[in-house]
């Protein structure tokens, strides 16, 4: 009985040591999980933002909604045969994780054709502002914007680029 108690006391001294050792290992494991999460977030851009073809007239706007629907303002004339499309980004990462979407600010994006340019403002997205990855860890992010067309905007093929950032919440 006495021996057993001593034995037990000895074990009690040994176990805390074992506990810290396990905790240390667990801490390493936790860091490794975080590192894996950072590596798994990806964004791809399978579809460009296209405003399609239009005649400028005396100026106005061309808007592409996140759904890809195109509309005009002012005297811009849209060609039905050459419509636009919303940009699409494929977001992949931790399943069921929400993320914040940062779209370009007004005045930062322009489309250019030679010396001529048009401003792209009022970016919008679906989902709006905050997205949530599916159980499979993915989501499609669709983005539209409004193009400002000057009166008698010189004809040409205009192009430019814009950045979209996502941050895990």
């Amino acid at each position: 009985m006495r021996v057993q108690e001593v034995f037990g006391s000895l074990q009690l001294k040994t176990r805390p040591h074992c506990f810290w050792k396990q905790l240390a290992l667990a801490c390493v494991a936790a860091v490794a999980i975080n590192a894996f999460a950072a590596a798994s977030i990806t964004v791809s851009n399978p579809q460009a933002l296209a405003f399609g073809k239009f005649a400028a007239g005396s100026g106005g706007t061309v808007t592409i909604g996140p759904s890809g629907a195109r509309s005009h303002g002012g005297s811009v004339v849209l060609l039905p045969s050459a419509g636009g499309s919303a940009a699409q980004f494929g977001v992949s990462g931790e399943p069921s994780t929400s993320y914040a979407i940062t779209l370009p600010a007004n005045g930062t994006v322009h489309l250019a054709s030679g010396a001529n340019s048009m401003a792209v403002n009022s970016f919008s997205s679906s989902p709006n502002a905050v997205g949530q990855l599916s159980l499979g860890g993915s989501q499609t992010l669709s983005i539209g914007a409004t193009l400002n067309v000057a009166g008698n905007q010189p004809p040409g093929n205009y192009s430019g680029s814009f950045n979209v950032s996502i941050d895990y919440n």
Partner: protein, 192 residues
């Protein structure tokens, strides 16, 4: 007995360690923001506006009415013909199809629509019978570069030009009185 106690402690120590790991893992995810960004291309095509300018007028020339109601037709090529009553007079105003000149974006398709007044009305004669109009019963047209009769669409040439020629058919009544008759033909083009 003692062995059992020790085993219990070992299990609780292990679960405490795992709980800590999960807590730390959760804190790590919440405390750091992981970001990604990508760039998309954006495009737009501004094209030259489509324009239409009228050229020659649609002229049926000079003719006399017949003893029965008939018609005078001018083709889009400007060739005149008659059916039934009317008698064509070779002299007088030139017979012409109406022409419209188009301009716009090279190789771009557009829709065509040509409409006309229902009647040509007598603009020079007053009195009895002067209100009897001539009905413009049909318009027909051709589009440059297209052999189709009265096509619904056309395509601007590689230099961005195009043209439409318009003819028509006029119903001439046996009681039609002499005079100059006028009306309007309207051509509308719209980018597809």
């Amino acid at each position: 007995m003692t062995s059992t106690k020790l085993s219990t402690f070992q299990r609780s120590a292990l679960s405490a360690a795992l709980a800590s790991a999960i807590m730390l893992g959760g804190a790590g995810l919440g405390g750091n923001a992981y970001a990604a960004a990508d760039t998309s291309v954006a495009t737009a095509s501004v094209i030259a506006p489509i324009t239409i300018v009228k050229g020659t007028v649609l002229s049926f020339g000079k003719f006399a009415h017949g003893t029965t109601t008939g018609s005078v037709t001018v083709s889009a090529a400007g060739v005149r013909s008659t059916a039934s009553g009317p008698i064509l007079v070779p002299t007088g105003p030139a017979v012409t199809a109406a022409t419209f000149t188009l301009g716009g974006e090279a190789s771009t398709t557009y829709s065509v629509d040509v409409t006309s007044d229902v009647n040509l009305s007598n603009t020079t004669t007053v009195g009895a019978g002067a209100t009897l109009n001539m009905a413009l019963t049909a318009v027909n047209w051709t589009v440059a570069g297209d052999a189709t009769a009265s096509p619904a669409t056309g395509t601007l040439a590689i230099d961005g030009t195009g043209s439409i020629a318009v003819g028509g058919t006029l119903a001439v009544n046996a009681a039609q009185i002499a005079g100059a008759y006028t009306g309007n033909v309207t051509a509308t083009v719209l980018y597809n």
